[in-house]
């Protein structure tokens, strides 16, 4: 009887198990080609990064006007 009660309790609580959901999940899709693998950079990551940083600086019009107040 006791064994039956324990079995019933185990079955009743079976759904209370919580699966961890915050573990990083692996990507299941296709591998992407690197952005700097294109003909323009030919795998040179440093060239790619410096090119983008320079391009990002074009967004700063204070550089063009020379009016920037920097501390």
């Amino acid at each position: 009887m006791k064994a039956l009660a324990m079995l019933a309790a185990a079955m009743a609580l079976a759904a209370c198990n919580e699966i961890p959901q915050d573990a990083p999940k692996p990507y299941a899709g296709k591998e992407d080609t690197k952005a700097y693998a294109s003909d323009m950079f030919k795998g040179d990551k440093a060239k790619y990064e410096s090119h983008l940083a320079k391009r990002a600086d074009y967004q700063n019009e204070y550089i063009r006007t020379g009016d920037a107040k920097t501390k």
Partner: protein
């Protein structure tokens, strides 16, 4: 390693929609799908603000966490992309995203959802760079051409900044110091964690 981010300067955005138009045109985005859009707060009231909103490519992206088929991945530049060949169009990412970025084209006559579409930071997707397939599924790959996202480069007032976190926070800092206001970066804390104050960003300390 670059950490690509967006900043929308609410003090500068004039709601011209050139970012949304540039995105649509660049990637030939279908009708009904808006990878980038404008949100105006307190419209018509003095002091109204407009924000250009798209996928922010979050540091701890909730879309990645909830995707049942694990179709999301992060590039070396911290851009969050997804594989449309795996996506089942379930819409979980739409409910998880705090920015409403995932978009679902209508597939068929009965309002069925197609595969999810979102801002790719103009970095294409998991296909050969500049291939026909990449353009068809994800749009143009400007990043592989050494260009920044079309929305930011097209922005008429340069309210929308794109690029490495260190570079764009430095640009933003120059503005804040020059005009003397607007220290809060919209959406930064939500997307990238930590503080949304410019003064707390490591890249802003020059």
């Amino acid at each position: 390693m670059a950490r690509m981010k967006f900043i929308c300067d609410a003090e500068r955005c004039i709601e011209c929609n050139s970012c949304a138009t540039a995105c649509k045109q660049e990637h030939e985005v279908p009708w009904g799908v808006n990878r980038r859009r404008l949100v105006t707060v307190n419209d018509g009231i003095p002091g109204e603000r407009s924000i250009s909103v798209a996928c922010m490519h979050c540091s701890d992206a909730p879309c990645m966490a909830v995707c049942p088929v694990d179709c999301f991945y992060r590039t070396e530049d911290q851009v969050v992309l997804h594989d449309k060949d795996l996506c089942i169009g379930c819409g979980y990412c739409f409910y998880a995203c705090p920015f409403g970025a995932p978009q679902f084209p209508q597939a068929g006559a009965f309002g069925l959802r197609g595969k999810m579409d979102k801002c790719t930071y103009c970095a294409g997707g998991p296909e050969e760079n500049h291939s026909v397939e990449e353009f068809r599924k994800y749009g143009r790959n400007r990043i592989a051409e050494g260009k920044l996202p079309a929305c930011a480069e097209m922005c008429s007032t340069k309210a929308l900044l794109a690029g490495d976190a260190g570079v764009i926070t430095h640009i933003y800092k120059t503005r804040v110091v020059t005009r003397g206001k607007g220290d809060e970066i919209w959406g930064w804390a939500m997307a990238y964690g930590g503080s949304g104050k410019l003064s707390d960003q490591p890249g802003a300390k020059a």
